[in-house]
């Protein structure tokens, strides 16, 4: 393949990746209800969106779930990455390695269904978690969020200079102190990136949440999904534009943080 052909493929690839997103944003400012037929510039759908109590309520639930799930995922991900990168060979290492990679590829319908069945079985046996709702969604999202957090934190941990930790140890710092004073500050950019990734993934999940949610805890993606199954809706376009704007800013911050000291970007 010549260079020009190759370059054209790459340009086509990026157009393919971005054209749908750009079209969503442009048509969110369309006056017509017929989303794809342009009839003039208007911001009225943003107004409709902000007056829709169903969407606002669901957005609030989603933000709460995403915040809690991202915090849990970051803590669990840090622990798992520390064990995998720093502890050398230990019993159960292969198991832990498998447990943090399998959720990355497992189809969502399987994760959702199996978790729901677990919650029902636990409810019958122990009376916990006492029905479905916010807590079951948080648990589900923290679980797959952990898998993604480990990938981000592990990459950073491998790149960290171990000699600084060893120096602290030689100077008499206890392991816990070394971790909080040396390792954690070094990991900080990756921790923020992992938290943001877990947060946006949680904010985006429809399938798993549909299984483990109750009627009273409908998340934002569940509301969007039920709306768009009926066809295009200008309010969803407006919402999409807000989501895209927010996520782009968060992603830029995360990328900037993880690139700052390494000169490379990681997921």
């Amino acid at each position: 393949m010549s260079r020009t052909v190759l370059r054209l493929v790459v340009i086509a690839g990026f157009v393919f990746l971005y054209a749908p997103i750009v079209s969503l944003v442009i048509y969110s400012f369309n006056e017509s209800r017929l989303v794809t037929v342009w009839s003039g510039f208007s911001t009225k759908w943003y107004g409709e969106l902000l007056r829709d109590p169903q969407i606002l309520g669901a957005a609030w639930i989603s933000l709460k779930v995403a915040f809690l799930a991202a915090c849990l995922a970051t803590v669990l991900g840090t622990l798992a990455a520390t064990a995998l990168v720093r502890h050398g060979r230990f019993r159960g290492q292969t198991l832990l390695g498998g447990l943090v990679t399998a959720p990355l590829v497992m189809p969502e319908v399987i994760i959702g269904l199996s978790l729901l069945l677990l919650f029902v079985a636990l409810d019958n046996a122990l009376g916990w978690p006492g029905g479905r709702g916010l807590s079951t969604i948080v648990i589900a999202h923290a679980t797959f969020g952990t898998a993604f957090a480990v990938v981000v934190i592990q990459a950073r941990m491998v790149a960290l200079d171990r000699s600084v930790e060893e120096a602290a140890q030689d100077l008499g710092a206890r392991p816990l102190r070394v971790f909080f004073d040396v390792t954690l500050p070094g990991l900080a950019p990756a921790l923020v990136a992992a938290w943001l990734l877990a947060f946006t993934l949680s904010l985006d999940d429809v399938v798993i949440a549909s299984f483990v949610a109750s009627p009273g805890s409908t998340t934002l993606p569940m509301v969007i999904f039920s709306k768009v199954r009926l066809g295009v809706s200008p309010e969803v376009n407006a919402l999409a534009t807000l989501v895209i704007a927010t996520v782009s800013i968060l992603a830029l911050i995360a990328a900037w943080l993880s690139a700052r000291r390494r000169g490379a970007v990681s997921v």
């Binding site: 493929v9 393919f16 447990l99 990679t101 069945l117 946006t200 768009v228 295009v232 970007v265």
Partner: protein, 289 residues
């Protein structure tokens, strides 16, 4: 202390990822019932006698109705074709990014990753507006005069392929980029010095050395694509058979939890081989310095 660090995430993932599969397996061999929850207990303790009601009926049911077998085959076919298409588009992109000058690489990678951060659901939704009968693509083609009747693109298998390639492209590019960027440039120079043409160098040096990336990327696309639900639900038509939709309907519409569980267990078995392949490639990559 050291033990606790590994134990906490292991306990969490064990309880909320591994144990659910055991529950899934258990429910898949229980008798459906009109009750809350809608299945019979597996173990029964009556009159001091423990009876185990192992019911393989749900699995037999899957073989009796051709819908299930056809859905599995169709899912694997759709996922496989989409994976190949994603590879054909993703490989040149990863190759160019890996060969790009250092200062531009970060930006290009960022451009690949950014859509991955943007809502998956909303990106699939965007294609409805593009593909539908009076959608953006048809309107543009009609205006230019290429067609005089709108093309039927939405609610077809074509739209499902498009949706999968579109949403999973970053998963293909990133592992490919990882192996291609580690490729020793001296090997390529040596090949060229020995008189190999660029095409020959690509086929005999670059491609074989990037094979781990090809396998990893392909599996990262193929495995979730087999069980995909959102894309066929939004872009596919009534004729699009995918096992993720079958499981969803079995659970949410028919409320037959045991059959849904059996469908899921068979899906895990179908995916065991690709998942094993992915684990092997990733483990080997991890061993390399």
């Amino acid at each position: 202390m050291k033990r606790l660090v590994a134990l906490i995430p292991m306990a969490w993932l064990g309880l909320f990822f591994l144990v659910p599969f055991l529950v899934l397996l258990k429910i898949s061999v229980s008798e459906p019932a009109i009750a809350q929850p809608p299945y019979m207990p597996l173990l029964d303790w009556a009159d001091g006698i423990l009876t185990i009601a192992l019911n393989l009926g749900n699995y037999i049911f899957l073989t009796e109705d051709p819908l299930y077998l056809l859905s599995y085959l169709s899912s694997v076919k759709i996922a496989a074709i989409s994976t190949i298409l994603t590879l054909l588009l993703g490989y040149p992109m990863a190759y160019v990014i890996a060969r790009a000058p250092e200062h531009r690489r970060g930006l290009l990678l960022m451009l690949v990753i950014l859509p991955f951060w943007t809502s998956f659901l909303l990106r699939v939704y965007a294609w409805i507006g593009l593909l539908k009968a009076n959608g953006i693509v048809n309107n543009a083609l009609l205006a230019v005069g290429v067609i005089d009747q709108p093309l039927v693109m939405l609610q077809t298998d074509f739209a499902v392929y498009l949706g999968i390639v579109y949403t999973y492209l970053p998963f293909m590019i990133l592992p490919l980029y990882a192996t291609l960027s580690k490729l020793d440039a001296d090997l390529l120079d040596a090949s060229a010095d020995l008189g190999a043409r660029p095409g020959t160098t690509f086929l005999t040096v670059t491609l074989p050395l990037s094979l781990p990336g090809v396998v990893a990327g392909s599996m990262l696309v193929f495995i979730p694509a087999v069980g995909e639900y959102i894309i066929p639900a939004l872009l596919g038509g009534p004729g699009t058979l995918m096992i993720g939709s079958v499981l969803w309907n079995e659970f949410f519409l028919n409320r037959d939890w045991p059959v849904a569980a059996a469908v899921a267990i068979v899906m895990v078995l179908v995916l065991a081989l690709p998942i094993g392949l992915l684990r092997r490639v990733q483990a080997r990559e991890g061993e390399r310095p």
